[in-house]
Symmetry: C2
Subunit: 354 residues, 2 copies
DNA sequence: GTTAGCACTCGAAGAAAATGAGTGCTAATA
DNA sequence: TATTAGCACTCATTTTCTTCGAGTGCTAAC
């Protein structure tokens, strides 16, 4: 949408002011606030126009104006366009190196929440496309095997397989060799019926054990689709914004952040999108967030590991700072994990560096 | 504390009524509510006595009475004493069997929250005293080993060990045999300097690899002391009780439930105590809970696995029901895990039954 | 020891009034 | 023609005042 320059300036001024105060903004304020040198009466006329265009609205007669979703959208688009190439990468968050993936993500959410004063969420990376590095079977008792799977990205998963029939130590060893020979370097998706059948053939008398083991491996590596790993922090920040904490959706919001499950919709939706996304009010993919704005950034650690970082706040969120912060974070994450190189990322959380 | 029978009846009536309504209770209400056949004037006299004894209090002149912490304490003690042998074990929660420990505990918290309308927390079992079943070392690359540890309770932990010097496939195998021979059946606490030294001696040229591996194992099995595994649910239930949601500590409360860290104090404190504990207001080991009551039960799954289940609500909580529910749950948990027998409990959460 | 009766207290709820930020419109001005 | 000063009007918010009633403590009678 194109907008007369003066109108644009006034709209921006209104929004900026509202972001700060959270109070409806009157014409007199703008008249003094800007360097436009216009009287409040003139501003009033322009404001009437802006209201007609659906960019601002009066909560009630004789109140100032507040931005509509559409108004915010205009502001954000304009800001994103202007700042495209000059985001503040200097102001990096203090993100100390941590050994463990899980702890790192938790800390990330925490730091981000503390820095922005909004609620944050970080999704653990999904790793479906990750290739198998090796599989280690160990016999636990007569009919049970512990399978440990390590992927190229050094994620370790373990699973106990119940075979329903006895198996000897020797056979476990054979099976181990066989599995590694056949599956090494494959991603879970690539394990198809062909491979399974040839595995069974080669396994000969052990063929009946192949299926449960593969099933267990697949399930272990794929992870729980229903229960997403999401780390949250700063949920209580929403109490800092009366328009959120007093809305009846506050409870739902906190509930969603506690259960995490409901946030998955949001994660999935922005996982596919490149770069930084801004959802304003109704634009949100998730019903409960319709009184909020959400800014998300997706990260990519290579090896098919990717997830998102999200910030949830009131519509009058400091978009500029939030987008800037997330932008910087994205770069920082990239750098850290590029540097980490071969270093481990352990899922069960017990990887150690040195 | 011993109390005149009539006074006790009146106090109980006041508390019962207050638990229901949350409103101060007046003399007339009690006069009709009970079967004591006393006029309101008499009740008033008794109430004046009870107030003098510090069991009830007037929020302001010309208001009814509400129980003090001391009053609640009297009520709870009396109730616990009376019901000691007749808790309602019939009303068992629908706790379907789940494969994975983590999921089971999460679900437990959830079910409990839904059933009681309070906030709940469940601590994952600590397992320091648990004995090692076997250790499996796998060579990941030149200088890195993946150590997988399984304990008697079938908890699986994995950790990546960086040796800082190359090691051959053969040596890993030797080390594997050595470790299992020496450590099998020991608990982590039992691995002392003696054992470590004799291990080093036996390891000969590999002795330098012993220490980092043992350190990693110890750390893996001991788990993070700082970051307790606590599952919570129903935090938003506190919004159902105005006296909590409107108190300024509501934010802190929710924050504590989100961060979990602060709850650890509570967990540790009631971990040592047998049976069911009731903390009323100031009695709570945790500052932020001074406007609440907390009821905890510790569970014991054998093999040194034990943790706690807690319910946090307003002081005017339905103690009778909560204590009953926890009591039943305790029995149920015992039964389930007795039945489970050798079945696995996988920490990385990927144990499967059949 | 119990109870009826009564004056008294004080929070809660409501009504009325005062306040003031902000508007829209009109007529004067550059 | 665009801008502005001026003014009447609106309406949420705040304050003040009033009313209401639940509940008390005390006293005197039973």
């Amino acid at each position: 949408m194109e907008l007369e320059d003066r109108k644009s300036k006034i709209l921006t001024a209104i929004i900026r002011n509202y972001l700060e105060t959270g109070e409806p903004v009157g014409s007199r304020t703008i008249s003094k606030f800007t360097d436009l040198q216009l009287s409040s009466a003139t501003i009033r006329n322009e404001m009437a126009d802006l209201e007609e265009m659906g960019l601002i609205i009066q909560p009630h007669t004789s109140a100032g104006r507040i931005p509509t979703d559409k108004g915010y959208r205009f502001y954000v688009d304009q800001m994103m366009e202007a700042r495209k190439h000059e985001f503040d990468d200097e102001k990096q968050l203090l993100l100390q190196r941590v050994d463990r993936m899980e702890a790192a993500l938790k800390q990330l959410a925490k730091v981000l929440a503390a820095n922005t004063n909004y609620a944050t969420l970080v999704s653990a990376p999904t790793y479906t496309q990750n290739k198998l590095k090796f599989i280690q079977l160990s016999r636990v008792d007569e009919a049970k095997i512990l399978a440990v799977i390590m992927t190229q990205a050094n994620i370790v998963k373990s699973t106990l397989v119940d075979l329903n029939e006895d198996i000897s130590e020797d056979d476990v060893l054979k099976m181990n060799v066989l599995l590694n020979a056949s599956l090494n370097g494959l991603s879970v998706d690539e394990i198809n019926l062909n491979i399974i059948n040839s595995l069974k053939t080669e396994a000969k008398e052990l063929s009946r054990a192949v299926e449960p083991i593969l099933t267990a491996i697949a399930q272990a590596v794929t992870g729980d689709k229903d229960e997403p790993q999401i780390y949250t922090s700063g949920t209580t920040n929403i109490f800092k914004y009366p328009e959120l904490s007093q809305s009846n959706s506050a409870t739902e919001l906190i509930g969603a952040f506690e259960e995490k499950q409901p946030l998955n919709e949001l994660v999935l939706s922005s996982m596919n999108k490149e770069g930084i996304q801004v959802y304003i009010g109704e634009e949100s993919p998730f019903e409960n967030l319709k009184d909020c704005s959400v800014v998300t950034a997706n990260y990519d650690l290579g090896d098919g590991l990717h997830g998102i970082v999200g910030i949830v706040g009131p519509k009058r969120m400091d978009y500029e700072r939030v987008v800037g912060t997330l932008h910087g974070l994205k770069n920082q994450l990239d750098a850290i994990y590029k540097e980490m190189g071969t270093k481990k990322i352990s899922d069960s959380g017990i990887g150690k560096d040195e």
